[in-house]
Symmetry: C2
Subunit: 142 residues, 2 copies
DNA sequence: ATAGCTGCAAATGCTTTGCAAGGCC
DNA sequence: GGCCTTGCAAAGCATTTGCAGCTAT
């Protein structure tokens, strides 16, 4: 009655993993579903783990960490640094920028973000190249 | 022969601390000297502690952490988030932006930084105001 | 079969904290 | 003197790692 493991698994997630050279295991498939099924998300390892467990997915926190890093290396996720204590991961890997709600510890895309422009960025110093440009607009309660 | 403790201490550091409502203790004076005597600096607690110890200043790492945070709250320092594992402090509290050398874990001001402009930043969402805008140009070895 | 994953628990690394001793006003 | 500060060591947290058992191919 449960011969196939992939029945309730999003095919695109599996394909995505294969392309990235990652074995589509149950945990990775299920996490990928959570991550990529609904628009852009911003989450921490704890957050994702809690959500997974809440939905009945059996996965350890260590695996969530591993998976997030593997996905990041594979280019499926982007890691955003806004808080000294937590690491945020963003499912939107296209160049874009963020609002960070300092009081809530919440990260969000800047709406219409393609309009934000950073001008006059100097050339990268000799021997280096720009890896990426991060813009974070920090917000606090009014 | 050592009645006065403030002999070799930078007067401006003491004044700075008094204005901030912080008692000018030996440790705070000496750390302030290291921090503010020579232009803009970017350092971590470890870095500063090592430097202090190297110069014969007796101070514990815990006090360095406390002092960095007190200075930050007093507006003498600014905390910059670029690395999930380390907290950087910047002695330049004026709005400006950074290069981050990912390979070396080194943070630096963007030269001529006043020329970098961030355009079309949307208004802060209702109930919030912009605390600050951080721009980090991440560099990697070529 | 076997190389790659997962989970647990222990380890790590940065940072914070409790509290007794010491310093500043 | 009284309150603030320091230092040490212990505690705290998020994250990583070692390794035995499990899984995808």
């Amino acid at each position: 009655m449960r011969k196939k493991m992939r029945d309730n698994t999003n095919e695109s997630a599996v394909a995505r993993l294969r392309e990235a050279g990652l074995r589509p295991t149950r945990q990775r498939n299920e996490l990928a579903d959570l991550l990529f099924k609904e628009g852009n998300r911003h989450l921490t390892a704890e957050t994702l783990h809690a959500e997974a467990v809440g939905k009945g997915i059996r996965v350890s926190l260590a695996t969530v960490y591993n998976t997030l890093h593997q996905f990041t290396h594979a280019g499926l996720l982007r890691q955003v640094m806004v808080d000294a204590t937590r690491s945020y991961f963003d499912t939107n890997t296209i160049e874009h920028h963020h609002f960070y709600y300092e009081d809530e510890g919440l990260l969000a895309d800047i709406p219409g973000t393609e309009m934000v422009a950073v001008d006059n960025v100097p050339n990268a110093p000799a021997g280096t190249k720009v890896s990426r440009v991060d813009v974070v607009v920090r917000l606090k309660r009014d």
